[in-house]
């Protein structure tokens, strides 16, 4: 009892500081320990919440403006430009003293300091100390050693097609994503030279594996297949093979140091923090000598604090590299610039474009992605229209019900009926219909760096009239619509075809282990699709994927097949299609099995006695009864497929050049990876809704024709 009283007393006087972060493993442990040390010292309490990486940004951006955020959050500084514009971080009174100049620069926007820098992260040159004696100082030397050491494996493991890993070369040639005035500069001479260098590194030198995903690189290094890796501290975690680090080499052609992007993980005081004073104090503590020491020792972090030095060679190299690096820009269009540069890199590496052409295309593409929102519109005509629409809708709604009086009389007569539907109606209105209307209304607005403006129908007109890009461009609404329709039709055809074939087989009594087959075949449906989609993504890897391995074995060729699945539209689309077919056929199989149970077999037997072939029996006896039973499931299945976000987003990720993106995943891109254009995303959503509404009207009529029923 006294203990509880003491605790209550302590709580009453102390502040509970809430921290959000997405650090994992040792870094997480070090943050907890450092925060607890501060809490013990100041008689406060801390509570830490680690949020999945994929949900972190959207969570802070939604929660903090509503006053539901933490006091302090720990994140990379990359989104700081957006966050200051949105007003979700509060500035610090002054910079935390004793930090690296580069990291203080990274958390400074518009002349104000917004965060306490904690750790610096960048790529460095990692190497296998058992094979490399003297790490190279220039790229020519790197290539020489790579050729010498690679043997049957590879020389350099680097995600050469990713803009983040392209940064070192771009900066060495004097390029930058944005010029001093903040304008996109993706097509300068320096950019062209850097793209040419990327081509040399990725292809001409023959030292880098194809499609170098982070998973593949980790695996190749663990297997001892390469002497060099260009990656960051995250690569070293959980590695059971010796690894050493050196600063990135001088790029021989440019005669300058390769300068990677620097990411600074910092502690930010959230706007509307409950305990801003304590949060600032804690942030300073975490960044200061004591906090930095704990983070360095427990979390193995390269800390930003200058007076905390490490005898760990990796951390020393990271600290040294931070001096020759370029902080990741906080410019609001940085994601668009990255998306455009990723296209250029892919095209140059695949040999689809020269560095010049790719650079110019990237500049144009980024300009399209980051173009300003439509101009504000006058809302008054819209309000007038709304005022007009309500009575018209009311009239249309009441038409055919025989006047208001009769309707009211019927409603009163049936008043108790409504009690039956009340729970569903209330829940549906509040939690589905209202958010839906709110979401749809957003399409009349546009969002730009935290500011909203009413733009009327501009988002719709831009999409429908293909104003921003030609109709044939992969970014146009019509292109996406065609892809989505083909996607839906192909999927549903395969789902239904396979479902029927399997169900027809599995209903035959002479099939052995029917229950076993049935049980196994529903597994693809039971495993969450965000997991299996990721697994399929890995299986489609050009060189190490299981799909190519199987194809190689089936064609009896020596080694795996060489299909670059995400290199062309057709193969990437096929990869998505295979994945989604795998996910979707069990549903149709189960539905068909059920429908077949309702069809008496006597008719078939009679036909068989008459000598009808198997196909004739199916076509003229089974199918006429099966089709109407399947139709609702087909309609439902096509609606689900039309909006099947996970597969496209996780498997092809829109590659190549966002051609395989469907309407919903495109909406997501505009909302979350292209400068938060929520208005345009909502316009996409409304158009998806409209297309599906037309489609279901049509199928309703079809259903009514088939069954002689009135459409609902």
């Amino acid at each position: 009892m006294p203990v509880i009283v003491a605790l209550l007393a302590a709580n009453a006087s102390a502040d509970e500081v809430v921290i959000w972060h997405s650090w994992r493993g040792d870094e997480k442990a070090s943050l907890e320990q450092a925060a607890q040390t501060w809490a013990d010292r100041t008689h406060n309490t801390v509570s830490l919440l680690d949020i999945p990486f994929g949900a972190f940004d959207s969570k802070v951006e939604t929660a903090i403006p509503r006053g539901n955020g933490p006091d302090l959050f720990v994140a990379g500084h990359g989104n700081l430009g957006k966050w200051t514009a949105m007003g979700i971080v509060d500035p610090l009174p002054q910079a935390v003293p004793g930090q690296m100049p580069a990291s203080t620069a990274a958390v400074t926007v518009d002349g104000k300091v917004w965060g306490a820098p904690l750790a610096v992260k960048s790529v460095v040159l990692l190497y296998d100390p058992t094979r490399v004696t003297v790490p190279p100082k220039t790229t020519d030397e790197l290539f020489r050693q790579a050729h010498e050491l690679q043997g049957d494996g590879y020389g350099v493991l680097v995600q050469v097609d990713q803009p983040y890993f392209h940064g070192p070369w771009m900066h060495a040639f004097g390029g930058a994503l944005f010029d001093a005035q903040g304008r996109l500069s993706l097509d300068t001479d320096a950019q062209i030279q850097a793209l040419a260098f990327a081509r040399r590194l990725a292809v001409d030198e023959g030292v880098v594996p194809p499609q170098p995903t982070s998973e593949l690189l980790t695996r190749l290094y663990r297997e001892g297949q390469a002497p060099f890796v260009i990656s960051g501290p995250w690569f070293v975690a959980e590695l059971d093979r010796p690894i050493a680090a050196a600063p990135l080499p001088v790029v021989s052609e440019a005669g300058a140091h390769a300068k990677p992007f620097l990411t600074v993980d910092a502690a930010f005081v959230a706007d509307q923090a409950k305990h801003p004073e304590a949060a600032r104090d804690l942030a300073a503590f975490l960044a200061g000598t004591e906090g930095a020491t704990i983070r360095q020792e427990v979390g193995r972090q390269a800390v930003s604090a200058l007076d905390v030095t490490s005898d760990d060679p990796l951390l020393q190299v990271l600290a040294e590299q931070a001096r020759t690096s370029v902080p990741l820009p906080t410019h609001p269009d940085v994601q668009s610039a990255f998306e455009a540069q990723a296209r250029a890199l892919r095209d140059v590496i695949r040999g689809a474009a020269t560095p010049e052409a790719a650079a110019h295309a990237a500049q144009q593409y980024a300009a399209i992605l980051s173009r300003p929102p439509p101009p504000p519109a006058d809302p008054r005509p819209w309000m007038a229209l709304l005022a007009l629409l309500i009575p018209v809708a009311g009239y249309l709604g009441l038409r055919g019900s025989g006047g208001v009086g009769r309707l009211a009389e019927r409603v009163v007569r049936h008043r108790w009926d409504y009690a039956w539907i009340a729970p569903a109606v209330i829940a549906l209105s509040a939690l589905v219909v209202a958010p839906l209307i709110a979401g749809a209304t957003v399409s009349l607005f546009e969002h730009d760096e935290g500011h909203w403006s009413f733009v009327g129908a501009a988002n719709f007109l831009n999409l429908l009239l293909a104003r921003d890009f030609p109709v044939t461009s992969a970014l146009s609404f019509w292109f996406k619509l065609v892809v989505t329709l083909v996607w839906t039709a192909a999927n549903v055809a395969l789902h239904v075809g396979l479902g029927i074939a399997l169900a027809l087989a599995l209903r035959e009594p002479w099939i052995r282990m029917r229950a076993g087959f049935r049980a196994l075949l529903v597994i693809p449906w039971a495993v969450p699709n965000y997991i299996t989609a990721l697994v399929w993504k890995g299986m489609f890897h050009a060189q190490y994927g299981a799909v190519n391995a199987v194809l190689g074995a089936l064609t009896l060729s020596d080694g795996p097949a060489h299909i670059d699945w995400f290199g062309s539209f057709l193969t990437a689309f096929t990869a998505n299609l295979v994945t989604n077919t795998w996910l979707g056929f069990p549903f149709m199989m189960v539905v068909t099995l059920g429908a077949l149970q309702g069809i008496p077999r006597e008719l078939e037997e009679a036909a068989e006695v008459d000598g009808a072939s198997w196909w004739f029996r199916f076509r003229h006896v089974v199918w006429p009864m099966l089709a109407p039973a399947l139709l609702p499931a087909v309609v439902l299945g096509s609606v689900w497929t039309f909006n099947m976000f996970n597969v496209v987003f996780l498997v092809s990720q829109g590659e190549p050049n966002s051609t395989t993106e469907i309407l919903v995943s495109e909406a997501y891109r505009w909302a979350f990876t292209r400068g938060n254009r929520y208005g345009l995303a909502a316009a996409y959503a409304v158009l998806v809704f409209a297309v599906l509404l037309i489609y279901t009207r049509f199928t309703d009529r079809l259903l009514a024709d088939r069954t002689g029923r009135r459409p609902a």
Partner: protein
């Protein structure tokens, strides 16, 4: 029915076996990665672990796992129950009563299924904030249950439509109330459809991650998919743990599937036969 020739039987069996093997191949990869201590993505042809270990399962089930498993079970079960409560009564009313607005109500409910979820997360957040249900499993359950209502109502209404009305009318003549008739006569007959809709609602709640991660603010109230998603980050995926987690998450759903398989087959289609 006559049995086809032995040749045909063998061919059909071979085809089924080949297809099932192909369909199980990705699953075998998940199992292989779960049993391999390495966190890298595995490649190659044969999904057999070289040095099998249960370490990933130990990692995944440590810490708050039991609490989070309980959360997931509570949320999914409650979603199924609340969803069923709302949709059975609504479906019955829609099937049997002739109140005004009936047809339009069904159309609107089904139409909500077509609107992409992507743009609804933020308005939903605001709504839960308004109702003071953020950061609570109750809020999550209500959202999931409401989302499950249209499909469930549609399926159940289809099922109720196929049930003959004679029994109910007889019961009503004998002096039973509508509610008694519904509870004691109609519901027992609708068991397969109830099983299907409950399972769908359960699965949806069980697998959902994006809304849960946005709405919940305490690790002790996280559901399993949120926890699982933490193994995926910008810097790469902890494949071994992710795969082990995937298996742990999938098992209860598979058990339910197999347990309810018979009802499932019946319940899903009856709605379709007469729509």
């Amino acid at each position: 029915m006559r049995q086809p020739s032995t040749g045909v039987q063998i061919a059909v069996h071979a085809g089924l076996f080949a297809f099932t093997a192909a369909a199980m191949y990705p699953v075998a990869w998940v199992v292989r990665m779960a049993l391999t201590p390495s966190q890298a993505f595995a490649g190659g042809l044969i999904p057999i672990p070289t040095h099998p270990s249960l370490q990933n399962f130990v990692d995944v089930t440590s810490g708050l796992f039991v609490v989070q498993l309980a959360n997931s079970l509570i949320v999914a079960t409650a979603t199924a129950l609340v969803g069923l409560f709302m949709s059975t009564s609504a479906a019955y009313a829609l099937s049997r009563f002739g109140f005004p607005g009936r047809e339009r109500g069904i159309a609107v409910a089904m139409a909500t299924q077509m609107f992409p979820q992507v743009v609804m997360a933020i308005p939903l957040y605001l709504m839960l904030d308004l109702l003071h249900l953020l950061d609570s499993l109750t809020g999550l359950v209500l959202v999931y249950a409401a989302t499950s209502v249209p499909f469930a109502t549609f399926t159940l209404k289809g099922w109720f439509d196929t049930l003959p009305k004679d029994l109910e009318e007889a019961a009503l003549l004998d002096g039973a109330t509508r509610l008694q008739t519904f509870l004691w006569i109609v519901l027992p007959l609708a068991r397969p459809a109830l099983a299907v809709t409950a399972l769908f609602a359960f699965m949806q709640a069980w697998n959902e991650f994006a809304l849960a991660a946005t709405f919940l603010g305490d690790p002790r109230s996280f559901t399993l998919p949120v926890v699982l998603q933490r193994y995926v980050s910008d810097y790469g995926t902890e494949w071994g743990r992710f795969a082990a987690g995937a298996i742990v998450v999938s098992l209860p759903v598979m058990v339910l599937f197999f347990a309810l398989q018979k009802q499932f087959v019946e319940g899903l289609t009856a709605g379709g036969v007469k729509g």
